[in-house]
């Protein structure tokens, strides 16, 4: 049995009268790549927001490697929850490398004073972060984009930068929100390869994705969500073969 990374116990969240997370229980182990599917508005991204701390649950508990995961976004990122965003949320005035250098868990020069003086510890940490960033970019074949302003990149590469930036956080839990939306060709291959590598390296990965074939290729298991509830957990084939679920999915999806 591999180590359990993430555990959700009876997590609930409502907005007004709308239940967006209804008694969610979930367990994720090192090396897992869990797919998260379901119709629009099923609460998939909300679940990510609950785990990463953008919103706080009304009830229930979340554990990361056995420790209670609480507090706002930045605390949880430092605890080791890395995530990407459906709309990337890149820092648009900054270069690819600068985007990534914001990402390490132990950030060099968190202190203004040390950053002003430029202490040796800041320099060392900067150099280490830079090496790490270049290594990640190299794995993605993005080395030559390092000093490009991110918004000048084609869409598919921006998506990769979003992932690369999240990978700067070397924590055990990686949440990917629609990484494949709008990604094609070689970028698609790269994305798959990287996600597999990260899982193999011992991370627990959770992917929200509409592209079912991507989920099929990648995920050992998937869960199906609807109206804030987990309806079923199983192999991707099982889920897609279930008539009830398929109807829910394609019957209500607007696209």
């Amino acid at each position: 049995m591999t180590q359990e990374i993430l555990r959700l116990e009876n997590v609930c969240k409502r907005f007004g009268g709308i239940v967006v997370a209804d008694d969610i229980c979930l367990s994720l182990h090192a090396g897992d790549v869990l797919g998260l599917i379901g119709p629009n508005g099923a609460g998939k991204t909300t679940l990510f927001n609950l785990i990463s701390g953008l919103i706080q649950p009304d009830a229930g508990r979340i554990y990361l490697q056995g420790h209670a995961l609480t507090g706002p976004l930045h605390r949880r990122a430092r605890a080791g929850v890395a995530r990407t965003w459906q709309h990337m949320r890149l820092f648009r005035t900054m270069t690819v490398l600068e985007n990534m250098l914001v990402g390490p868990r132990n950030y060099p020069g968190e202190s203004l004073l040390r950053s002003m003086i430029g202490t040796p510890s800041v320099h060392r940490a900067e150099a280490a972060a830079r090496d790490r960033a270049m290594h990640v970019l190299e794995r993605m074949g993005l080395t030559n984009t390092a000093s490009t302003i991110v918004v000048d990149l084609p869409f598919g590469q921006q998506k990769l930068v979003g992932l690369a930036r999240a990978l700067m956080n070397d924590g055990p839990c990686l949440l990917l929100d629609e990484p494949m939306a709008g990604v094609e060709g070689s970028n698609y291959e790269t994305m798959q390869r990287i996600v597999r590598d990260e899982a193999a390296a011992g991370r627990a990965v959770c992917v929200v994705e509409h592209n079912v074939s991507f989920i099929k290729d990648l995920c050992t298991e998937a869960i199906f969500m609807s109206y804030g509830r987990i309806l079923k957990r199983g192999s991707v084939d099982d889920l897609t073969r279930s008539r009830e679920l398929t109807e829910l999915y394609f019957g209500t999806a607007d696209a």
């Binding site: 900054m94 020069g109 202190s111 950053s115 302003i149």
Partner: protein
């Protein structure tokens, strides 16, 4: 010639004010306009200590900086939850409230202010000495702002301005960053206040009112918000140009309002002719 030195000191002080304020509003993206109150706190603390205790100037000024920093942390911690325009108004309330207090307390000299600040440097070279010290301090502040904003801290600040949620989700504590920026910027205002008190030897509440907020804000925005040299240039131009008419030998009752007219006309002109600042960045607030 002493007059030139005096104008130089004033420019230096405004450069410090503008550079510190630029850090807060241009880099930190915190819409406060209470900067003059920290200038005032620095000036009053320094002046009161100098008058009352005769401690060495360095210590008095350091105390002024300290008080400004403490007050700014209080303001930051209480009001940073307030968003956008409302923060601007809340800071205005803070500034005017404190100013009212200064205006009505006895030990601050009330509306007539403090005029018996002891002479620290004397002799014929006094003006030039002060000018050199102020210039050195102004350069130091510019350098620190530049260093701070080009290093890793500044990178996180820019990231915060581009997308605060994404920045926090990468582990950056935005609240702490904002408080630190605010405290540093306001500390430099305290420093400027200390220099002001020692050099001009007279301070009064009306020097720190809303008009002063508008002045410093204008220097930053018209110079080029979020750039290193923009606010410096803005402070220089907007202090220096109105000084020109002092050479015209006009009666003193005319000089004040005329300088004010020149200043406000310049602002309105720049506002419409150079909307992106003298050091022009396309998008106001972007560092690149």
């Amino acid at each position: 010639m002493d007059y030139l030195a005096s104008a130089g000191v004033l420019i230096g002080i405004y450069i410090i004010l503008a550079a510190g304020y630029n850090l807060i509003i241009g880099y930190g993206g915190l819409n406060t306009i209470a900067h003059p109150i920290f200038f005032a706190l620095g000036a009053y603390t320094t002046a009161l200590l100098a008058i009352g205790t005769g401690l060495p100037p360095v210590i008095c000024i350091a105390a002024g900086i300290g008080v400004a920093v403490i007050a700014s942390v209080f303001l930051a911690v209480t009001t940073l939850r307030i968003s956008g325009d409302y923060l601007l108004i809340a800071s205005l309330g803070f500034q005017l409230g404190l100013l009212q207090a200064i205006n009505n307390l006895d030990f601050t000299g009330g509306p007539s202010g403090l005029s018996n600040i002891p002479v620290t440097l004397s002799g014929p070279a006094r003006g030039w000495l002060y000018l050199m010290i102020t210039a050195a301090l102004a350069l130091l502040v510019i350098w620190l702002v530049h260093r701070g904003m080009s290093g890793p801290f500044g990178r996180a600040v820019r990231a915060m301005r581009d997308d605060d949620v994404a920045c926090a989700a990468l582990g950056r504590g935005l609240f702490t960053m904002k408080v630190v920026i605010f405290a540093f910027g306001c500390g430099t205002a305290g420093l400027a206040g200390g220099m002001y008190a020692y050099y001009f030897q007279y301070i009064s509440p009306e020097q720190f009112n809303v008009a002063q907020s508008a002045t410093i804000l204008t220097m930053v925005v018209l110079g080029g918000i979020g750039t290193i040299w923009g606010p410096v240039l803005g402070a220089f131009v907007l202090v220096a140009l109105p000084q020109v008419i002092t050479f015209l030998q006009l009666p003193s009752s005319l000089v004040g309002p005329l300088q004010g007219l020149i200043f406000t006309s310049l602002v309105i002109l720049f506002l419409f002719l150079r909307p992106h600042g003298l050091v022009g960045t396309r998008t106001p607030g972007a560092a690149h």
